[in-house]
């Protein structure tokens, strides 16, 4: 072996030994041994205390001394004894923390088809455990608008013939979703290996999506209502990667998240509609969804990188990028990329927070053509008593989507209310006034495609925009609980419906503006 190569290996081994020794030294002091040492020290302290007490008892009783004087205990000059109960090694089971958050909202709108409604937005259960010294696990399970899910399966017998019956009962537009479930191995503050179902680090909202963190009762357009993110928040994917922070005294804290994952893919959802006209319609909606947690539908993987810089407490700037193929293997290989820029700054009671996201889907016309080729037939009829119609829809695709939200907040609480019902018993109750401005542009939004015998016969695109302004007022008795109220005005291109561009406003064909009043509560624990 050449000398330089040998030396290089020698350096590596030396470094490893250098690292291993402190580790083994540390490992020598196991929790049990430390506990034994602590017990021994505690016994010494107890003995000293008994000695002092007996010497005090031997003296004539002194006049009562205020317990708050330092003479109540004798000074001990040793600095070896840890404060009782202050430092202990918690067991993994004791170190499991169960938490969660939830939110409910009432909304009233001037749209014809939107009834005044109470919405149970979601309830999310979270668990966080320090599994071992530098191993940590976390999960987040979401029940969104879910009130019931009932499955029945029977095999009834009629006139000696066996039949099979299956029924599913569920609540409207509800879901159970595993938003996060990962394990993290801390190698260093700047190098933590993470694997599992993780939030994709694109934009600050997706990472901080807990409802009780926000002072408005509706999520932002780019993250939820008119998703510019490839998938609506909370967007999580199965993958692996590294996260970490680098703290500097002079330049503040730098952070990063670098993940590789299955990534977003066009996927189908099937909706069955029984029409009054004896038609049974099945609609197959193909749209970008978070990647599978099973065998990936595509060969290529996706990557995301987020960099943050916090020059001082209360100030943060972040930039993110996501790149990956969005088509399954049966469609032509095309990629999408997203970039985001976000930040937050605090100046006393004022806060400014915002996020810009831009997503580009490469060559969606080619994807549509491939889709037509794969599906071949648009509709067919069967000979069953019901007419069965199958329709396919390629939803939510646009050449480029971009948008932003910008929050201006002012926090206050009048002193004269501190002893009132709103202030009593709370350390730092707050009123928060929020003004949010949002805009989204959808360039080349696919508005209609048609295909016959595997050939694309029509492919129409449109350029659309959506604007929204929200003025909100919130009361936060504790950091984890917020009572919110807001008025929002949403509008799109004149004469065009809001329903074609938003996923939450069932507007009629001519309704291009919606005014909505919202009242919400969000809590965490």
């Amino acid at each position: 072996m050449p000398l330089r190569a040998f030396l290089a290996w020698l350096v590596t081994i030396a470094l490893m030994l250098d690292l291993a020794l402190p580790i083994s030294r540390a490992a020598a002091a196991t929790p049990e041994e430390l506990e034994a040492q602590l017990k021994a020290l505690q016994q010494q302290v107890d003995a000293l205390r008994r000695q002092i007490e007996s010497s005090q008892a031997a003296q004539p009783p002194a006049a009562p001394v205020a317990p708050a004087t330092p003479t109540a205990t004798a000074p001990v000059t040793t600095v070896e004894t840890p404060a009782p109960g202050k430092i202990e090694r918690l067991s993994s089971i004791a170190d499991f923390k169960l938490g969660g958050y939830g939110s409910t909202r009432f909304e009233a709108s001037d749209l014809d088809r939107l009834n005044e409604s109470f919405t149970f937005r979601r309830f999310v259960l979270t668990g966080d455990a320090t599994i071992g010294g530098r191993l940590r696990g976390l999960f987040e399970l979401e029940l969104e608008r879910l009130t019931e899910l009932e499955v029945e399966r029977t095999a009834p017998s009629e006139a000696g013939r066996r039949g099979f019956q299956q029924s599913i009962e569920g609540s409207d537009k509800s879901e159970i979703s595993l938003e996060q479930a990962w394990v993290e191995f801390t190698l260093a503050d700047w190098l933590k290996y993470r694997a599992g179902m993780m939030l994709v680090p694109v934009g600050r909202f997706n990472l901080n999506h807990d409802d009780n963190r926000w002072d408005l009762p509706r999520r932002s357009l780019v993250d939820r209502g008119v998703p510019v993110l490839p998938v609506t928040a909370a967007w999580s994917e199965v993958g692996m990667g590294f996260v970490g922070d680098v703290k500097t005294e002079r330049w503040g804290t730098f952070g990063y998240q670098a993940l590789v994952m299955n990534g977003v893919s066009l996927d189908s959802s099937i909706e069955t509609i029984a029409r009054g006209s004896s038609e049974l319609e099945t609609e197959v909606e193909i749209k970008a969804r978070r990647g599978t947690a099973n065998i990936d539908l595509k060969r290529d993987k996706a990557g995301a990188l987020r960099l943050t810089w916090s020059p001082a407490p209360g100030h943060e700037l972040g930039t993110s990028v996501y790149y990956g193929r969005y088509t399954p293997d049966f469609l032509p290989s095309e990629a999408l990329w997203s970039v985001a820029l976000d930040g937050k700054t605090t100046l006393g009671p004022f806060e400014v927070e915002g996020q810009y996201v831009r997503t580009h889907f490469n060559n969606i016309r080619r994807v549509a053509r491939g889709f037509a080729d794969a599906v071949a037939e648009r509709a067919f009829s069967s000979g069953t008593p019901l007419d069965v119609v199958v329709e396919f829809e390629l939803a939510g695709l646009a050449d480029t989507k971009q948008g932003y939200w910008l929050d201006l907040r002012y926090r206050f609480f009048p002193d004269f209310l501190r002893d009132s019902l709103l202030g009593r018993g709370f350390d730092n109750p707050q009123f928060i006034v929020t003004l949010r401005g949002e805009q989204v542009w959808l360039d080349g939004l696919v508005s209609e495609i048609d295909f016959t015998n595997g050939h694309l016969t029509s492919f129409q695109q449109d350029n659309r925009h959506v604007n929204r302004v929200t003025l909100g007022f919130a009361y936060r008795p504790l950091p984890l609980v917020v009572f919110q109220t807001a008025f929002e005005r949403t509008w799109t291109d004149r004469g065009k419906s809001l329903s074609g561009v938003t996923n939450f406003l069932p507007a009629r064909r001519s309704e291009d503006t919606a005014n909505t009043f919202l009242l919400g509560v969000a809590f965490g624990f």
Binding site: T78, V79, L90, K97
Partner: protein, 190 residues
Amino acid sequence: MGSDRLSRRTLLAGSGGLLLAGVGNAAAQEGIFMRPEEAPRALFPDASAVTDTTVTATAELRERVRALMRRAPSYWEPAYRVFRVARHAADPGFVIVVEEIGKHRPITFAVAVDGGARVVDVAVLAYREAYGGEVRDKRFLRQYSGKTLDDPLLPYRDIRNISGATLSVEATGRAARKAIAVLRALGDLR
């Protein structure tokens, strides 16, 4: 060719070594970061002598602390460890170990206070929450220097908040105020 291979090996070995050297300083958000007995010299670098006292938190002491704080702390310790610190060219100071609940668990702080009942510095000795460990940062804790019991020490008022760590930030403020209140209740400070 041989030289190419050599440089690649050197590079791999070097980068591997650097990586391992870096990870040698591994630290998680949760953990014990300083022992109480190390705190006096960490918070008062000019300390010349340290005297260690443990004071039982009697009901009467708690009552006086509560009155001085004008609001209840989130946690009552069974005893307080107080270090009296003699300094080379300055008035004596005090370091007291206190605990306050973050979200789920107590955070252990050492608070350094000068003879004028002003916070000199704060250190986090033990952090047991999964989030919010940024309160350990020096640049955050620096905000408490010079604060007194008359200051609210609350986010959005006189303390800059850390996003996602509001409960820990509030706990730090309560800990600093409790430290001064305990020392005043003990008669160490006016």
